[in-house]
């Protein structure tokens, strides 16, 4: 059953991802991204990462993309007559993209390339991916990084305010 679920989710994911990239309306792109994020959250659930999944929905879909939508609406961006780049770039991008995918797949699939790239998933302990285990990691091994993110966020807040504030003439 899981492969079936995975297959359905994967197809939906790819469709919505292409929706982000190919749709001419920015609002629709953003909404496709929300769908993508939601589906990836489901993938996280399948990978025993419930907390990350919930955070994905709450923070990514619920806040960050809303911010995008907010800006899109603020700038009142409508459908573009010419959404894509010029042909030469389009061509090289598609070429490069397929090469890129090829290289990634080779890295991930080819046997003896990557030690953990093959094989099935083994069972995990019940508290794997729980709030407790993630929190314990966050506040012990990764404490410094965690604290530094607070500074990053502060800087981002100040930067956003300074940049977006209309200068008084």
């Amino acid at each position: 059953m899981s492969p079936v679920v995975f297959g359905i989710l994967a197809v939906l994911l790819m469709v919505s991802a292409f929706g982000v990239v190919l749709q001419s309306s920015p609002v629709r792109s953003a909404l496709s991204l929300v769908v993508t994020l939601f589906l990836i959250a489901v993938m996280f659930l399948l990978l025993d990462a419930p907390l990350v999944a919930v955070l994905q929905v709450a923070v990514y879909a619920g806040a960050i993309v809303v911010l995008f939508l907010f800006v899109i609406m603020l700038l009142n961006l409508q459908d573009e007559p010419r959404a894509m780049a010029r042909a030469s770039i389009l061509f090289s991008a598609v070429l490069l993209g397929s090469l890129f995918l090829l290289a990634l797949l080779r890295l991930f699939i080819a046997p003896n390339r990557v030690r953990f790239g093959v094989g099935m998933m083994s069972a995990v302990s019940p508290d794997f991916g729980s709030v407790g285990s993630l929190g314990a990691q966050l506040f012990t091994r990764h404490l410094l990084a965690f604290e530094v993110t607070s500074i990053l966020l502060l800087v981002a807040i100040i930067g956003a305010v300074v940049l977006a504030k209309r200068r008084l003439a």
């Binding site: 609002v27 909404l31 919930v54 929905v57 709450a58 806040a63 809303v66 907010f70 609406m73």
Partner: protein, 365 residues
């Protein structure tokens, strides 16, 4: 396997039904309470044999029928897909949010343990937050897809307002999580079955009165109801983000509004007022502090608990409607001021104070 799926489906259907009924009750409250407060009769055509209270049934049947039969008007030049999607997204988000609320203890039926909860999740409360944060898309999309300045302004206002108040809301819940030491809602409710000093039920409100106040305010702001109803402020924006909606879609917006009231009421009941816990009621009956005991069969206990939970949810929904008809609407700058400069610092302070107290209590053990 089939049985399990069946039980799960049953739970889900039960919750859905409950939510729908709840929304209907709130709709009726809205009319009768407002009428009462404004010293008028209100919804007088919906009484049965002159008894207004029985109009509840009438309202619950008649209103949806009325909306369903109305013309589904779509303005020209809109993104039809998004226009249709908007109310669905909104409704979906609040409906699934309800799924994590426990409405009774785990019951033992024929050797299986069945939690009285649509979806037992170990990330419980975070899940509800996540889903509630998705409900903003209904507002934003509705505003955007209507191709109407008023709708658009309503959508913009709504998104900013909901993101702003989500912070205070989340932080007040963080304080609760710290108090209980778990994020599992069922666990939280169980923890409230104890007694403080042998007589006072150990409800969250007694531990975290400030968090309750914060959550109540933020919750009302999240539901976009007065005094925080700026996204739909009739006197300014006609109807805000659902100006251009009619028929079933309008009903869906309407329902998601009331269901959200229900969700907020449910969270308040669960976190601050003992959820399905009845004071002094244990699994085998009442044990009053003054020594009296009253043994009850398990089924009665479960039904009592279920009824209590529903009663609490209805009560807090009613309270919100009371507030909605009592307070005047804020100005937008006041709204933002309250959210960012009032609620956010206070809730941060609350988290800090809670952390210190928890630390002190743990240290003294």
């Amino acid at each position: 396997m089939v049985l399990e799926i069946g039980i799960a489906l049953l739970r889900i259907v039960a919750v859905l039904a409950m939510v729908m009924v709840m929304a209907g009750i709130y709709g009726w409250f809205e009319r009768k309470v407002s009428a009462l407060m404004q010293d008028r009769i209100g919804a007088n055509r919906a009484s049965i044999f002159g008894f207004a209270g029985a109009g509840l049934i009438n309202t619950m049947m008649a209103d949806p029928l009325k909306f369903a039969t109305k013309e589904d008007f779509v303005p020209s030049g809109v993104d039809r897909l998004l226009h249709t999607l908007a109310p669905c997204v909104g409704l979906f988000a609040v409906l699934v949010a309800f799924a994590a609320l426990p409405f009774g203890d785990t019951v033992q039926v024929g050797g299986r343990y069945v939690p009285l909860q649509a979806v037992p999740l170990n990330v419980g409360i975070l899940y509800i937050l996540a889903m509630l944060s998705l409900s903003v898309y209904g507002v934003v999309l509705g505003g955007w897809a209507s191709n109407n300045r008023f709708s658009f302004l309503g959508g913009i206002r709504g998104s900013a307002q909901m993101i702003s108040y989500e912070l205070a809301m989340g932080l007040s819940l963080v304080a609760m999580v710290m108090t209980y030491g778990t994020i599992d809602l069922q666990e939280m409710v169980r923890a409230q079955g104890h007694l403080i000093g042998g007589w006072l039920p150990a409800w969250g409100i007694f531990y975290q009165p400030l968090a309750f106040l914060l959550f109540l305010i933020a919750g009302i702001a999240e539901t976009k109801r007065a005094p925080f109803d700026l996204p739909e402020g009739e006197s300014e924006l006609v109807g805000g983000y659902f100006t251009e909606y009619s028929g079933m879609k309008y009903l869906m917006f309407f329902m998601s509004d009331f269901i959200e009231v229900g969700v907020v009421a449910g969270i308040i009941a669960t976190l601050f007022f003992g959820g399905w816990q009845v004071p002094y009621l244990g699994a085998d009956g009442f044990h009053f502090p003054f020594g009296l005991s009253l043994a009850l069969p398990a089924v009665v206990v479960i039904l009592l608990q279920l009824a209590t939970f529903l009663l609490k949810v209805v009560f807090f929904g009613w309270l919100q409607i009371l507030i909605r008809w009592t307070l005047p609407r804020l100005r937008y700058d006041q709204l933002m001021w309250l959210g960012w400069k009032g609620m956010l610092p206070v809730s941060l302070f609350n988290v800090l104070a809670t952390a210190l107290i928890v630390l002190a209590v743990q240290g003294s053990r």
